[in-house]
């Protein structure tokens, strides 16, 4: 039973039933109130009033007029009276509420005009001879039609009906508004993202929507669990790669440690190859992490000229040692990059120049017109016969720059290599 009471269907039916009951009630009320109004007006309609008045005046004498007027006025508050005697002179007026400036002398013409003017007018007027004799004069009754006609009944009916209608509309509105509000809330929970997932929604009621909400929350729980698991696996993978790099580099360090007392010439060769190997491991690691989207880029507006300046300041001594001519011209430039990753791109580029362009003994770095050009006079990329590993280094640069929305272009021939970095339009 409680289950049924909780359902939206049930509540909708209740609403319909309320509507039907309301209709019935209004109809009943109409009948009832019409009767009630009648009772309140002493069950008299205009015809009855006329009949009674005729009777009362027919039996009266000029002396008893006052008594009749008092009696009627006590019944009809909004009534007024006047008396004209047998000679046609206006003798007396009672309870005049609507002053019509009655004529003092009543001849046939004036009487006829008066009757004509009051036919069907606001004041319901009945003229009767006192004691049914012309020499006694006539007594006139005037009642405001409003008091006797049942217009009041109609008014109250519309009034009460209106209240009921508004009440019904309010109840319906609340009913549907609540449903809509919950649906909107559910929709919001579905579209809002917290850590890349929709958020839990509040379960307000145990009806049909409530069931959807419960199912929705369950789904999110499952999603969260799945995401957590995925993140754990990712972390493990990251660790694995990092540890792998450690495991590969430790023996390299040991080789270096062991080579310290062998002839200088051989030692140089070993050292060089250890460095090359280490660089390959780094690039492989970066490549793996980048392609798996495991590197976070925090993009911010940065001064590229300063970043390049800092980077070349660190690299300069190495180039100096190899007798490179280094030419630097940096224009003030701001790009949106991750400064750490951008520095790594530069490291990779400089490493490549150092390794492959030794013959040209030249490094040119120019930052002009929103374009960074790094130039060497080496034998060109095609000529990197003994250094096949350059490919992965360039791939890493390509991946990193594209994640920072930079375009990366290489122009290379036997006279040298030109690397160009630009902000993508």
């Amino acid at each position: 039973m409680k289950k049924i009471a909780n359902s939206l269907f049930f509540r909708f039916i209740v609403l319909i039933v309320i509507a039907l009951v309301f209709l019935q009630t209004v109809m009943l009320l109409y009948l009832f109130s019409a009767n009630f109004e009648k009772m309140k007006n002493n069950q008299l309609n205009l015809t009855q009033i006329e009949e009674k008045w005729t009777n009362d005046v027919k039996e009266a004498t000029p002396d008893s007029i006052d008594k009749i007027v008092e009696k009627w006025h006590s019944r009809f508050e909004k009534s007024q009276y006047f008396y004209v005697d047998g000679q046609g002179e206006l003798q007396k007026e009672w309870y005049i509420q609507i002053d019509e400036s009655l004529p003092k002398i009543w001849d046939t013409m004036k009487t006829t005009r008066f009757i004509q003017e009051h036919y069907d007018a606001k004041l319901y007027t009945v003229i009767r001879f006192v004691g049914d004799k012309e020499e006694n004069g006539f007594l006139v009754l005037q009642i405001l039609r409003d008091e006797v006609t049942p217009t009041k009944v109609d008014n109250s009916f519309i009034y009460i009906g209106g209240i009921f209608l508004i009440l019904y509309l309010i109840i319906s509105f609340i009913f549907f508004f609540k449903i809509i509000k919950r649906l909107v809330r559910l929709e919001k929970a579905m579209t809002v993202r917290e850590n890349g997932l929709p958020v839990h929604t509040k379960i307000a009621k145990k009806d049909e929507i409530g069931k959807v909400e419960v199912a929705f929350n369950q789904m999110i729980d499952e999603l969260e669990e799945a995401k957590e698991k995925q993140e754990e696996e990712e972390q493990l993978r990251k660790e694995l790669i990092a540890n792998l790099s450690h495991d590969l580099k430790t023996p390299l360090t040991k080789i270096r440690a062991a080579s310290h007392d062998i002839p200088k010439e051989n030692q140089y060769l070993i050292d060089q190859n250890i460095d090359k190997m280490s660089e390959l491991i780094d690039n492989l690691m970066s490549y793996t992490l980048l392609t798996a989207d495991k590197v976070t880029f925090e993009l911010e507006e940065k001064r590229i000229d300063r970043l390049v300046n800092q980077s070349i300041a660190l690299w300069y001594p190495v180039f100096e040692e190899s007798d490179f001519e280094v030419e630097v011209e940096l224009e003030q430039t701001t790009w949106v990059v991750d400064d750490n990753q951008f520095s790594r791109v530069l490291d990779n580029v400089f490493q490549n120049v150092l390794r492959h362009a030794d013959r040209g003994k030249y490094l040119g770095i120019f930052l002009k017109d929103n374009c960074l050009v790094i130039q060497d006079k080496g034998p060109g990329i095609e000529a990197h016969s003994e250094n096949k590993g350059a490919g992965i280094g360039l791939n890493v640069i390509d991946l990193m720059t594209s994640k920072m929305f930079l375009s990366f272009k290489i122009e290379s021939n036997q006279l040298g290599t030109k690397i160009m970095l630009k902000e993508k339009d």
Partner: protein, 224 residues
């Protein structure tokens, strides 16, 4: 100069210890934090620590954190095989410098010298060409005539920064921000003017400076 060195790989440990000893450092080498705590007497205070990151038991970062807590002015160099940036950044927030494996001994020695100077644990007097700079007393002697060279506060701060970061190329921003403690504004001539005055006081021939070198388009350097 007492150096604490923790590294679990036997071959590397022995090699670096030998190389550092050759460079006249007094090396206390251990294989783990546990071993260090067991064998180390509390009386010895170190001048510098070299820590491997990947260690059995407590890792290098945690050790660095503990050492810094006990002795805030202990310079620490981390040895890491992981060249991943996160590692470097984490390392740098605790340690003062890091060297990636497979490192060369020269690289470690150079970084050690920089740190020892920065933490004022180095020999008190440093010679640069014809100058003898006493970092403790903040005095500069011209050995050509044995006269003291008097510098303004800013000029000395500049020279001191150059010497502490000897052999490194320093960019204009780096120098300005270190000495003036303000953000460098492009085109500001203050630094250039100060370097010119500094050269006039310390160089034998200020128009051909030999101490404060200009690296065109990049910055300045003082070679030690």
């Amino acid at each position: 100069m007492k150096i604490l060195y923790i590294e679990d790989e036997k071959e590397i440990n022995e090699w670096l210890r030998a190389e550092l000893t050759k460079a006249y450092y007094e090396v206390y080498a251990f294989k783990s934090y546990h071993e260090f705590k067991e064998h180390h007497s509390e009386e010895i205070t170190f001048d510098l620590a070299i820590l491997d990151v990947m260690l059995p038991g407590l890792d290098g970062f945690s050790i660095a954190r503990r050492l810094k807590k006990e002795q805030t002015d202990l310079p620490i160099i981390m040895l890491t095989a992981r060249s991943q940036l996160e590692d470097k950044l984490e390392g740098l927030s605790i340690a003062d410098d890091y060297v990636t494996k497979p490192f060369q001994v020269e690289e470690i020695l150079a970084r050690m010298q920089v740190l020892l100077r920065r933490f004022e644990k180095d020999e008190e007097v440093i010679s640069v060409k014809h100058l003898e700079i006493n970092l403790k007393n903040k005095t500069i002697i011209n050995t050509n005539n044995n006269q003291e060279i008097l510098l303004t506060q800013k000029q000395y701060a500049l020279l001191n920064y150059f010497v502490v970061h000897g052999n490194q190329i320093l960019t204009k921003e780096q120098l300005y921000e270190a000495v003036w403690n303000e953000e460098y504004i492009d085109g500001d001539k203050t630094l250039m003017v100060h370097i010119r005055y500094l050269r006039e006081k310390i160089e034998e021939d200020p128009s051909h400076p030999e101490i404060v070198e200009t690296i065109r388009g990049i910055g300045y350097r003082v070679r030690l």
